[in-house]
């Protein structure tokens, strides 16, 4: 074992040796080493969050034909640090009549819920917090804490806009949680395990996006809704309720919400990579060839994972800055009358095809073609429906400008 092929265990062994050398017993030395490991993991995720502030601002600037931050440091890279200093020295205002305890707890829970997800994020085959055998369920469970923090913030602020934002968030959460769980069931079915590391390893031959492209699409839509990002950003719709649930938050408390949201989006990008794009691995068996064994190096895997996660994050940003916000009734109808039935039918189809074709040679082809066929049927149904809708719509009244000419 050297630093290059197993860095985390190498450093942990070395630290353990150092602590034992100081005269510590074995079990406290192990515990201290684990705590240091956890702190490093969390600080790493915080470092990514800081970088994401810059990425997000730069990308939104490009989408809107602006330059973005470019004054502090090369390409404005140090802008987030200036932002942090500014947020820390800003006055913290608690509004009159706010429920102080809940008000102060909400931003902490918001960020902590995202940090907790990082316990199971597999950064490389040998760099991860813990390899839970129920990681998929854990991800769903911990993700709900973020929603809880939004409700707490909205309710405790004693502000009508914040309350409306929180209500909308509840509606989004309870609606999109169901197709999300179903979308997560699909990789579970294909891989036969709930451990994220196991799912990654199951994709060393073929990515799940090829076996279930519709599952990826479903997961992407639900992830965006779960994040409360545009087009589902009704919880903070600027033009209606100013900033929604975090309207009364100032200074560093706002900063925690902001960091939490960005990191959550990146984490969902990471999980898209893990569940559908092979995570840190997935080189189609290339790493088994003698010329490409370096692909199994943890550092290479870390870079591959971060690139895949950033691409997923970029797609989420792309959607956010291209789509207008939808109305709440449309959002709920889209979920309950379209996405939820679709998700369950897709689940049934995946289970059947997976069960019937797994022993045969047509597994990959069958899975892919069944998805294509399914998508085609759905599009045809939608087309027939919209045709019927169009035929019953009455002719629009004569435009006012034309009527004035008569």
């Amino acid at each position: 074992m050297t630093f290059w092929n197993d860095p985390i265990n190498f450093l942990a062994e070395w630290l353990r040796g150092v602590f034992m050398g100081w005269g510590m017993a074995a079990s406290p030395a192990n515990a201290v080493t684990d705590i240091i490991g956890i702190v490093v993991m969390i600080l790493f995720s915080m470092g990514i969050a800081i970088l994401l502030v810059w990425v997000e601002r730069k990308v939104v600037a490009r989408f809107q034909d602006r330059l973005g931050p470019n004054r502090i440091g090369p390409y404005g890279l140090f802008q987030p640090f200036a932002d942090i200093v500014k947020l820390i020295i800003k006055e913290d205002i608690t509004p009159d009549g706010a429920d102080k305890l809940v008000f102060n707890m909400a931003p902490v829970i918001s960020l902590a819920s995202v940090i907790l997800i990082w316990a199971v994020v597999p950064l490389a085959s040998k760099i991860y917090g813990v390899d839970l055998n129920v990681a998929v369920l854990y991800l769903v469970a911990v993700g709900s804490f973020g929603t809880l923090s939004v409700i707490m913030a909205g309710w405790a602020s004693n502000n009508k806009y914040a309350l409306i934002g929180a209500f909308r968030m509840v509606a989004t959460m309870i609606s999109y949680e169901i197709p999300m769980v179903v979308a997560l069931l699909i990789p579970t079915i294909i891989a036969g395990t709930m451990s994220v590391k196991g799912i990654t390893q199951a994709q060393s031959g073929i990515w799940f996006v090829i076996l279930s492209p519709l599952g990826l699409l479903l997961f992407l839509i639900c992830a965006i809704a779960e994040l409360g990002r545009s087009p589902f950003d009704l919880n903070e719709a600027e033009s209606e309720i100013v900033a929604g649930f975090h309207i009364e938050y100032t200074g560093m408390k706002f900063g925690l919400f902001y960091a939490g949201e960005l990191l959550h989006a990146f984490t969902f990008g990471g999980f898209m990579a893990v569940f559908f794009f092979g995570g840190y691995g997935g080189f189609f068996g290339l790493e088994k060839l003698s010329a490409f064994t370096w692909l199994s190096n943890p550092f290479i895997q870390l870079v591959v994972f971060l690139i895949k996660a950033l691409i997923g994050y970029w797609v989420i940003m792309w959607v956010k800055y291209s789509m207008p916000r939808i109305r709440i009734d449309h959002m709920l109808l889209f979920n309950w009358k379209f996405l939820t039935p679709l998700a369950f039918v897709l689940l049934m189809m995946t289970a059947l095809v997976d069960k019937l074709l797994a022993p045969t040679n047509f597994y990959v082809l069958g899975m892919f073609l069944s998805n294509v066929l399914f998508a085609w049927i759905v599009i045809e149904i939608l087309r027939a429906y919209s045709k019927r809708e169009r035929s019953v719509t009455v002719e629009p009244a004569e435009p006012v400008a034309q009527a004035a000419h008569h």
Binding site: I84, I88, V108, I115, L163, A351
Partner: protein, 118 residues
């Protein structure tokens, strides 16, 4: 680590401490000069009228009920999905029957008009 859930517990504790650190730093570094105007509820400059903690639209409650049914049932699907390859084809069809019953529930709610936002 021997116990994975102990690790998660440690992660939880440290994960709560990490966001508190900048808040504490802010408490020591930031000015603190409260006054009634500054602390008033923000409503785009207009004085707020009445209570903020009001009764809300009951439609949210109905969606929550429908959600609850589905969310509990989907948890039952995880063991089925995990063991799918080891199950007999009969058990797979049983699972699909279970999903069909779920969808029948959704259709019932749909036909009853519970999913309308009105």
């Amino acid at each position: 680590m021997q116990n994975q859930w102990l690790y998660i517990g440690l992660f939880l504790v440290i994960g709560v401490i990490v966001p508190i650190v900048p808040l504490l730093a802010s408490r020591f570094l930031a000015p603190h000069k409260p006054n009634p105007i500054k602390q008033s509820t923000y409503e785009c400059g207009i004085e707020t009228v009445g209570e903020s903690w009001v009764q809300f639209k009951s439609q949210y409650y109905i969606y929550a009920l429908v959600f609850l049914v589905f969310d509990v049932e989907t948890v039952f699907l995880f063991p089925w999905a995990l063991a799918l390859q080891k199950l007999a084809i009969f058990a797979v069809l049983e699972g699909i029957l279970f999903i069909l019953i779920l969808l029948a529930g959704l259709t019932f709610a749909w036909r009853k008009g519970l999913l309308e936002w009105a």
